[in-house]
């Protein structure tokens, strides 16, 4: 653990976000990665030129994410396209050419990766001149790897210190927590908020002075609004000394299959960002349910998001109850405090909290996760705890449906898809059938 906490730090990426936010704009950003450097550069150029306030994204491929560099080399040798940009394998020269004359203070670029063991990626990122990335010891371990959590926590501690120590002079690194997403859906907001705050505390403890907290759009707009407001309050309480902002992710679960439904969901996420004062949004596209989007489909999503964000009434019609916000604030705070009480080192506290089931990600198959917690979607579309396992918070007192557990889960996984594709009206679900 570092002896002194970092001072609030400027960073190309976060300076840009804060500056554009002060000017009343929402910064929007795609999820985008292509294996060929020419195509990746064309994508970044198109994002920069889009009619919206944008930052660039390089998403790495999933072989790089799991450290399978041999498979990357084989794919590059045979010309097989990958599902992202293999930053490590392309090497510093190619990476410099990728970004030359393109990335800069007026168009910062963030590396998105999903790696539980991020050191090699962080080295490659700094060598490429990039100073913004994301992830976290829990959020990129439990849902996306089989790395033991203690090992991921050590690797992320080393990774943060590498970023803090080796950042270019005058350009400290910005790190975003992926804690507000976890498995993308069916994680009640209190736990998402707690994990975002805890991971940012972890980053700060390991020398990072510029962070962002994430929150992924869930199934009920009023609940999301209350959750993000609660997260902002907690960030102010716990992260007061560092520079932070909030990033919203457009829905990360099973996506609507219709174009209209997908774009409506995207527009809803923009409204959530506007209503909560979030500074940045990571978008999804009209074809998200079907395949990896093209450059053009990403630009369409960014421009729609920028257009909706610019409407004076973007946040109109969204309201949250103070009681709901207070309840979510309390639930997240309870989880944060229960974790921090376990050890003064945030990483060790996180490892112990997960081991003891005090943090328990519903449906997460990672061997270290208790996997006793379960979720339900109530009649208003809100995510509720069906079971909380050993977490120090209460489950909802609701009767649960009986029937096929598999198809009940599928029903919940597809709730947003059905709502946005017009199968379900409005944000609320029709009342349960009396014969059900």
């Amino acid at each position: 653990m570092s002896g002194t906490l970092p001072r609030p730090a400027g960073n190309d990426f976060s300076d840009f976000v804060h500056e554009r936010s002060r000017a009343g704009e929402l910064v929007v950003q795609p999820r985008m990665g292509f294996s060929a450097p020419e195509r990746m550069r064309a994508g970044l150029q198109a994002v920069r030129a889009a009619r919206a306030t944008t930052v660039g994204t390089i998403t790495v491929d999933s072989y790089t994410r799991v450290g399978d560099h041999g498979s990357v080399r084989e794919a590059l040798r045979t010309g097989t396209p990958l599902n992202g940009y293999p930053l490590v394998e392309h090497g510093p020269e190619t990476n410099h050419r990728l970004l030359a004359g393109l990335a800069g203070p007026d168009f910062p670029v963030q590396l998105r990766h999903g790696s539980a063991l991020p050191q090699r990626l962080f080295e490659a990122m700094l060598a490429a001149g990039l100073t913004a990335t994301e992830g976290g010891p829990v959020s990129y371990c439990l849902p996306y790897s089989r790395t033991p959590l203690a090992e991921a926590a050590r690797a992320w501690a080393d990774g943060c210190e590498l970023l803090a120590d080796r950042a270019p002079a005058g350009r400290p690194v910005h790190l975003e927590s992926f804690g507000g997403c976890m498995l993308g859906q069916l994680c009640p907001p209190g736990l998402l908020v707690a994990l975002s705050v805890l991971e940012c505390l972890f980053f700060v403890q390991h020398g990072i002075g510029s962070v962002s907290l994430s929150y992924a759009q869930q199934t009920n707009p009023a609940q999301d609004l209350a959750a993000v407001r609660a997260m902002r309050r907690l960030a102010a309480e716990y992260l007061g000394a560092v520079r932070w902002h909030v990033v919203i992710y457009t829905y990360m679960g099973v996506f609507p299959r219709t174009r209209a439904g997908a774009l409506r969901l995207l527009a809803d996420s923009v409204r959530l960002a506007r209503a909560t004062g979030a500074e940045r949004l990571v978008t999804k596209t009209a074809v998200e349910a079907l395949r990896i989007p093209t450059i053009e489909e990403n630009i369409e999503a960014l421009e729609l998001a920028g257009e909706v964000a610019g409407r004076p009434d973007a946040a109109a019609g969204l309201s949250a109850s103070a009681a709901e916000e207070a309840a979510l604030h309390l639930e997240a705070r309870t989880l944060i405090e229960a974790t921090l009480a376990l050890h003064q080192d945030v990483g060790e506290a996180l490892v112990r909290a997960v081991r003891q089931g005090l943090l328990d990600v519903p449906y997460c198959l990672h061997p270290d996760n208790a996997n006793q917690a379960r979720t339900l979607i109530d009649e208003t579309g809100r995510l509720r705890w069906r079971r909380t396992g050993r977490m120090p918070i209460a489950a909802a007192s609701v009767s649960t449906a009986t029937g096929s557990p598999a198809f009940e889960l599928l029903d919940q996984l597809r709730y947003i898809e059905r709502r946005c594709d017009g199968v379900l009206p409005g944000p609320a679900r029709p009342p349960r059938s009396v014969t059900g």
């Binding site: 999933s62 089989r146 079907l290 598999a406």
Partner: protein, 158 residues
């Protein structure tokens, strides 16, 4: 007629591929297969080929179900099918793969043929969970008493 040995619950090894971190497909399939009476060994996300081979050799399951949605399914699937089929004890076990197997979302006919040639008995598109269960049920119906479990599987490519 010789009655089959005491029937145990049919066992399925369920897994993603080494580069895929998605697990909702696996959570759903586990519940579905359990509802159909299978005992499921769910290996979860990012399963290295070595681990899958090791578990399959230890369990000699009644079937291996691979589900993947990140777009590298064709590459990873071909490689791991060859690995599994190279083990004599696993040569005849029914194996299927499903999900989003290519970057375009679906596996084209050529990719499907490659996956079958590499050792899979069936290739499913995304959203085919129930079909997977039906496929397994058909296998089960075809072999009510497959005692050794290591012999050639009905419907398999052996």
């Amino acid at each position: 007629m010789i009655s089959p040995p005491a029937r145990r619950r049919r066992c399925v090894v369920l897994s993603s591929v080494s580069s895929d971190s998605h697990t909702w497909n696996l959570v759903f399939l586990q519940l579905l297969l359990e509802e159909h009476g299978y005992q499921v060994e769910n290996l979860g996300a990012c399963v290295p080929d070595d681990l899958l081979v090791e578990v399959c050799l230890a369990r000699i399951p009644d079937a291996v179900v691979i589900s993947t949605v990140n777009g590298h399914g064709r590459l990873d699937g071909i490689r791991l099918a060859r690995r599994l089929r190279a083990e004599p004890a696993l040569a005849g076990i029914p194996m299927m793969i499903g999900g989003k197997l290519g970057l375009q979302g679906t596996a084209d006919a050529a990719s499907q043929a490659e996956l079958i040639a590499a050792g899979f008995d069936a290739v499913f598109e995304a959203g085919s969970g129930p079909e997977v269960a039906e496929f397994l049920a058909r296998l089960g119906a075809a072999s009510p008493a497959r005692p050794a479990l290591a012999g050639p599987a009905p419907g398999g490519n052996g």
